[in-house]
Subunit: 329 residues, 2 copies
């Protein structure tokens, strides 16, 4: 079986092919009470680059030579009195390897009536991240104006839809006309701003003339600063991520308009979805209900073939992906 | 009688003498139900420069030629069946004028057993600002580490003492050995960092090695960024002001370390004490109790003579003041 290992740390620069090494390893053997899983899907997150860098230390650092850490969906192909029978699809931290052995700890069975790869998107880290950030920190109510950056991404697209379902006016910021069209025509956003097409500040002034009640930021940099310039009194600024920072080295400018948090009596708050793990089943059940009812739509960007894993991860940082970046093994 | 009027707006630059004009005006006359007040004290706030600039628009803009807006303590010297008898000391927005007429609306009588000028410091805007920011937003508990910037100022010194009273370890950042000595020897801070003496980051690493649970920022700029670099998981960053920004023009850098709000699951929040006006009497009663019991100490910096009002205000921005800047008429 094959596995991808970490070869170099991409600190302060884009990912390179040479950061990863594809190696052959002996097939693992499942002992009593354990299961052999075959990888079927991989899901990709911006945070993975941070793990490779050992950035910020909010999860255990990755070591050079370690199997690349990541979420996946796998099928139970052998069970030696293990937790689930053969044929069960499960999601968890599979890592980038074609086969693995587990007792099931840290894995969840997929929802049987929904596509298994939903566990990597709407029902996985992106959906849970969107749920907690929007419902517990942003807390939009009917009539609020909500702006989401990175809005066509896996997390942003769900966060914006949750705000729309809560009765808010939702504006998405994304790169390019195709992503913007998807936001307004498929995901039900009220407006979309193409940051590649020009002045985000002017567009926000037009689309959020009464001020922004909830900012949901995935991007950082100039886009965050433009949003902070237009927050309303009592605004909640949800810090989910900062994709624009992940390939920069050295000293990175902060948002000069943070001072509006005083003038507009507002709050800016970050979170890590791993902290909320005890509440994941409750959050996932709500998201699954919205998915079944058709109120929430998900976009997936599927790359084929295990050997494409590094290229699939790199798509997140170039903005090439359309919605949740997946790989089908 | 004399009054000081706004002559120029000090936008993006230090205050100048020519921003103010001292003019003679006819003595006002108190009609029925009204009182004639004679100014006894003026108190000075960094926000007054913002009012002169019409900065941010969070209070009604000042007009050129208008009597300089400001807090003061005045004595009732005539009462035509007014709210309070002759001899009462009251505090409120007197403006910079030697005499004024009022029906009492917006004024509060001073605490009879405490010095009247306390209504401009511990019992006034600085004390109320410190109380709300620390008790409602920062919420230190026993064992927390709290760092206050601008710690020797009127607000910072009270904010730090409230954290000390709540059982926290309190570190103050101030400019110069004299202010730092006052913090540790008189105000009961556990440590003081002189930002003029060198590397604030290294000093914070030493004094707050376990991380900062509550940041109370009056300064902005590099000091805020150094504090954000060391926040603990779950930290609360209270944004009270940004004295380092008030004399800068153009684009001002933001705190690059704001991203730690995500990594450390922390919150940064601003407020305007005018919003809390309905709760001022309750807050003031608590502060008065602490003052009477000697648990809270206040430092006052008194300039003499009405004609010194512009010079007294300017002292806030050079860091010349030692505690609450006052003027005795």
């Amino acid at each position: 079986m094959r596995q991808w290992r970490l070869a170099e740390r991409p600190i302060g620069r884009p990912l390179l092919d040479s950061d990863f090494a594809l190696v052959e390893a002996p097939d693992p053997v499942a002992g009593a009470g354990r299961m052999l899983l075959a990888l079927r899907w991989l899901g990709f997150e911006p945070a993975q680059k941070g793990w490779m860098e050992s950035f910020g230390g909010y999860v255990a650092p990755m070591e050079i030579g370690e199997v690349m850490r990541g979420m996946g969906v796998a099928e139970v192909i052998e069970s030696h009195d293990g937790r689930w029978p053969v044929g069960t699809m499960v999601a968890g931290m599979t890592g980038w390897r074609e086969l693995l052995v587990t007792d099931g700890e840290g894995f969840d069975p997929c929802e049987p009536d929904l596509p298994p790869e939903a566990m990597l998107g709407v029902l996985g880290i992106p959906g849970l991240t969107a749920w907690h950030g929007m419902q517990a920190i942003g807390r939009p109510v009917a009539g609020d104006t909500v702006v989401v950056s990175g809005a066509a991404g896996a997390t942003g697209s769900i966060a914006g839809q949750l705000a729309r379902i809560a009765g808010a006016r939702v504006i998405g910021i994304a790169g390019g006309p195709e992503k913007c069209a998807w936001l307004t025509q498929v995901a039900g956003f009220d407006a979309a701003i193409d940051y590649k097409a020009g002045d985000v500040s002017a567009a926000l002034k037009r689309e959020a003339s009464g001020g922004i009640d909830v900012v949901y930021d995935n991007v950082s940099g100039a886009v965050l600063d433009a949003m902070l310039a237009r927050i309303a009194v009592g605004a909640r600024v949800v810090l989910c991520g900062g994709i624009s920072r992940y390939e920069q080295g050295g000293r990175i400018d902060g948002p000069g308009n943070y001072f509006n948090l005083i003038l507009r009596r507002a709050r800016m708050e970050g979170y890590i979805i791993l902290d909320e793990q005890p509440r994941w089943p409750v959050m996932r059940a709500r998201l699954a209900g919205l998915l079944r009812s058709g109120k929430l739509v998900a976009q997936q960007d599927v790359v084929e073939g295990f050997e494409q894993a590094p290229a699939a991860l790199a798509r997140l940082f170039t903005g090439a992906n359309r919605g949740k970046q997946l790989l089908r093994v």
